[in-house]
Amino acid sequence: MLRLAVLVLLAFMTLPTVVVVAVSFNPTAILSFPPSGLSLRWYVNVVTYPQFQRAAWNSLLVTAGAVALAMPIGTAAALGLARGRPRAASLWATLLLSPLVVPGVAAGLGFLIVGAALGLLRSRSVLIAAHVALVLPFVVRSVGVSVRNLDPTLERAAASLGATPWRVFRRVTLPLLRPGLLAALLFAVIVSLNEFVVSLFISTRLTEILPVAMFTYVVNYTDPTIAALSTLFIVGTFVIVWLADRFLDLGGVFLHHR
């Protein structure tokens, strides 16, 4: 009984994905399911549409910039939180994780107002700044898990053997943090690539990232181009998540192991 219910629910959860992938191969512009044939024309459209090309480039720049900043900042913060006294640390932690709870429209409008006041909206700097703020909590959390599993005696041992604090970090701490760092990188990239609401408020036609470009397209056109782009997104994400589960034990991040 339980098994049946779960299967139905899983079908519900995956149905849209199946439909999107199927529709993306439809040869005509009229959406139909099952598709009347197989065609790659919408994929071609995706790759050649100038606005998508521009948006993909923007996504690349903004995500690369945001992740390049958020990773070291977040790692330092995770280490700092672990070293501090528990009560102070948990206060700072709440503060660092706060962007997660703010509604997207609130953050978006706020950044828009500030960006306009500073005259920065023509550049991608406001986008990158916003993405860093939105991605940082994920980095801090992921690296924090690894930091918590770190045996503090190991750093003392390295110091007793003559390693300066920087050498301790490079030879002992950093290698041992690798799983957390990889997970953080994964989360950071995915969250930034898919960030939509805040980016909607602070993008211009020239700086908009891919999700925003997709939104504009969907509102204006009804052909399956977005289905093709969505399929590309879905395939890419599935592969990444599957790899992550294989090598990073995602279950351990979310569930309590017995």
Binding site: T153, L154, A158, A159, S160, L161, G162, L176
Partner: protein, 359 residues
């Protein structure tokens, strides 16, 4: 005259409201193995951490080879530390673990090869060089930790309860191996432990610690046979504490008619209250009469193979712990009456009752 290698002068260390170490003075001489012995919370690990530079003293100075290193961070003190949990780097092989300190000293490759191989041979782990720590047993990990700390010939070796995680048999094996290595290398060593048998067996000198202070510092035999305080007498080895009143320069009266002759205790004043301790293995079962002979009733019998541990109650109600070497001269059972002889020179004085109250 032996050279002082490590000196602690008036070291105090506070953690918030707790004083872990109070005004500690300690000198450790060249080539000796000194144990810091005491129960948990006595400050022995804090003392080790002060010497290693992992914590800074709230007051006092730390000197190594005459130089004041109090303000020098841990990685500049040139010491070797073996931690209770071994702290082997899980992401490095045995070889890389042992080579770690040499790499930090920019030792040339060929030299590292030579010395790591020698260190691994010293601890008999040459065949495990490529293994990861997780693949080794506890005893092997401990030896890797030792090799890692010794390979760069540090000035002092610090060991923080290194044998605590091993089972009994392995612990005893490692104990003698450790001593052998220390002697052959000749390195000044400070050994922290809560196990008094370990300290007695390994050390050149023992510092018995209690409440952040050193209660007694001396050779093992001295600590065992002439404990300076009640704490030391009770912490080291077993003993019975007897309360009585001195009745002359060499006489003590216990409660209810039991009179004792005591030798080797200076300055007994008639009338003063006194506490005496006596080791259970010094008390003998006897048949005859004489001085320091008394009867008692057996109230507890614990067979231990090598000896049987008797608890005997005297007329006045005081209880004595007696070790009888096996095979015992007579059958022993609760309720029996036994006659005991307490040799006059076996008593240790714990100080008059008022001294205890002031502690």
């Amino acid at each position: 005259m032996a050279r002082a290698v490590v000196e602690l002068a008036g070291c105090t260390r506070d953690y918030g409201g707790i004083r872990a170490v109070a005004g500690l003075d300690l000198v450790v001489y060249e080539g000796e193995l000194l144990s810091l012995l005491g129960p948990s919370g006595c400050g022995k690990t804090t003392t080790l951490n002060l010497i290693a530079g992992f914590v800074l003293p709230t007051a006092g100075r730390v000197r190594i080879d005459g130089q004041d290193v109090t303000d020098r961070p841990a990685h500049q003190r040139g010491l070797g530390v073996v931690f209770q949990s071994y702290a082997l780097f899980p992401h490095l092989s045995v070889w890389e673990n042992v080579a770690f300190g040499l790499r930090e000293r920019r030792t040339p490759r060929a030299e590292i090869e030579r010395r790591v191989r020698a260190a691994l041979a010293l601890v008999r782990l040459d065949t495990r060089a490529e293994h990861r720590p997780a693949q080794l047993s506890g005893g092997m990990q401990q030896r890797v930790a030792l090799a890692r700390a010794l390979v760069y010939e540090p000035r002092v070796l610090l060991l923080d309860e290194p044998l605590a995680a091993l089972d009994k048999k392995l612990r005893e094996e490692m104990r003698s191996e450790l001593r052998e290595i220390q002697r052959s290398v000749g390195i000044t060593t400070i050994f922290v432990t809560h196990d008094q048998a370990e300290a007695l067996g390994l050390s050149d000198r023992i510092a018995v610690m209690h409440g952040g202070r050193i209660e007694q510092l001396g050779a093992p035999r001295e600590i065992y046979e002439r404990p300076a305080s009640r704490f030391v007498a009770e912490f080291i080895g077993a003993s019975t504490v007897l309360r009585g009143r001195a009745t002359g320069p060499d006489r003590v009266a216990l409660a209810d008619n039991v009179a004792l002759r005591v030798l080797g205790l200076a300055g007994l004043r008639a009338g003063e209250a006194i506490e005496l301790a006596i080791r259970p293995e010094r008390i003998r079962l006897t048949g005859g009469a004489g001085e320091n002979v008394m009867d008692g009733r057996v109230v507890g019998v614990v067979y231990q193979g090598v000896q049987t541990e008797l608890t005997v109650e005297l007329e006045g109600g005081q209880r004595l712990l007696v070790f009888v070497a096996e095979p015992a001269p007579a059958a022993l059972a609760p309720g029996q009456t036994v006659r005991l002889h307490l040799p006059a020179d076996a008593f240790m004085r714990l100080g008059p009752a008022s001294e205890e109250a002031g502690r």
